[in-house]
Amino acid sequence: MAVIETHNLTYTYPGAAKPSISDVSLAVQKGEFVLITGPSGCGKTTLCRTFNGLIPQFYQGELKGEIKVADLDAAKHPTYEMAKRVGLVFQNPENQLFALSVEKDVAFGLENLGFPRNEMRKRVDWALNLTGISDLRDRSPHEMSGGQQQRVAIAAVLAMQPEIIVLDEPTSFLDPLSAEKIFEVIHDLNKKLGFTVVLVEHRLDLTAKYADHIVIMDQGKVRFDGETREVLSNEEARLIGVGIPKATLLFEMLKKDGVPLDGTTPLSSEELANMLQEAMLR
């Protein structure tokens, strides 16, 4: 069952000469982990903003085509209602944080929805725990590092427990180990708790292994949409300038040089190392 479905979605920002996304048709199934990637300016962020109705309801501009999210018309359904179903973590955490303490920021969405105090406390604790910032709960988000702010932004969305979580480069300010931890959290939310995840990322090295399905965009259009391994082993996908994981590249380079390797395209160094080990034992 598709939880996000678009048909020929085309959107032009107010005053812009040409559309930022054009003719985007895609489907995200319930429970999927979808990775959206593509060169900077390709329309990834714009597309994400249509998922919870910010486009066109907040940004105005001209939206054509159809979009259905959680069975609702995201273009028309009130954004405060959409926000319960779709949580969006912005690229720049400063665009999203505003309260005087981390705890208040994370609780804000729940307060607005009128959650009982006990439930609110539980959810906030849960979200702070998952993102590893329980000890920062009384700090002001504006005095924290970019990486810490990103965790707060993610916690604030998690606390709402929406069915669909859309993350726009949610770890760009984080160090690699912290980023990996966040991706693992997101992966767990997806696999164990069944949240549908849409992740926008350039860093496929860290994320390709989690994705059931990958969408590569270029110049506002969807260029590839399919199973992750299949898409990433496609030479043309590489030419768009997407950062293929080094392990995948190394595999392709060895194959090209005539080294016989069995199995499907690896997406992580572990997978490649296992494959190489087998080849060496032969």
């Binding site: 060169p39 300016g41 005095e143 990486g147 160090d175 190394l250 060895l254 160094s269 060496m280």
Partner: protein, 273 residues
């Protein structure tokens, strides 16, 4: 143009001790990557290089001049600083205005400014956005505007705080080539970054920080393959190094971060089997 940091301590007004005795020399023309986990003090350290922050204790010398004895404006001409978050830096109505701003402040003639702006927008692929507001651009594009606006005045030392954030693969490759080009011109380039794959591709000198101190300093291929010291700094091995660590083949070099070197080594090994 040598940068010398002598036993520098720095505390923010909040009382947080961000630097706890850092000593470092960056020679003219060097390419250095300052790495470390969030809150390690990387940005605090590089902000000392152009006097944006001044040591609480110890001193920082920019080509022999103590940063406490001169102004940020004077240092900025030789040490250009590009912020992590472009929104902390951009404010003009158009991209070309943004790039021209500092040049005007430095007192360049109008024709020189025009030439420099032209050069910078072309270099960073921004020429179609000259008349566009930086705030209409994507995150990655805004980062390039911020970079262009500093490059335009041609500083001898360039400090880039997290230059690869929000940049796609092609732009990172452009950035890498661009740094190589700056290097051939003898410029000093200092980047603060978490991006291990980018550092593995560039292979600069790596200065690793943790809790306000430098914990390792050396060649990229040695530091980025030292699993223990990296783990303590919340940094993961580059994928190529991960593969070699997993494989753990006796007699195989471990300090490999380069894709082509890795391919050659593995190919030889597999062909011998």
């Amino acid at each position: 143009m040598t940068l010398t940091v002598e036993d520098v301590h720095f505390s923010y007004q909040s009382g947080v001790k961000a630097l706890k005795g850092v000593s470092l020399t960056v020679k003219d023309g060097e390419f250095v990557a300052v790495m470390g986990q969030n809150g390690a003090g990387k940005t605090t350290l590089v902000k000392q290089f152009n006097g944006l922050l001044k040591p609480t204790k110890g001193r920082v010398l920019v080509n022999g001049t103590d940063t406490t004895k001169t102004s940020v404006a004077a240092i900025a001409k030789t040490v250009g600083f590009v912020f992590q978050n472009p929104d902390h830096q951009l404010f003009s109505e158009t991209v070309e205005e943004e790039i021209a701003f500092a040049l005007r402040n430095f007192g360049y003639a109008a024709d020189v400014i025009e030439k420099r702006v032209e050069w910078a927008v072309n270099l960073l692929g921004l020429s179609q956005y000259r008349k566009t507001s930086p705030f209409m651009l994507s995150g990655g594009e805004r980062k390039r505007v911020a970079l262009a606006s500093v490059l335009a005045w041609d500083p001898q030392v360039l400090v880039l705080d997290e230059p690869t954030i929000g940049q796609d693969h092609q732009q990172k490759e452009n950035l890498r080539q661009f740094i190589v080009q700056l290097q051939t011109q003898g410029k000093t380039v200092i980047i603060v970054t978490h991006d291990v794959e980018f550092v593995a591709e560039c292979s600069p000198r790596v200065v690793l920080m943790r809790e306000g101190k430098i914990v390792a300093d050396g060649a990229g291929k040695d530091i980025l393959t030292d699993e223990k010291v990296l783990a303590e700094s919340s940094i993961v091995l580059p994928q190529v190094a991960q593969v070699f660590t997993y494989l753990n083949i006796p007699g195989f070099p471990k300090n490999v971060i380069d894709l082509y070197e890795a391919k050659q080594l593995l190919k030889k090994k597999l062909e011998r089997n």
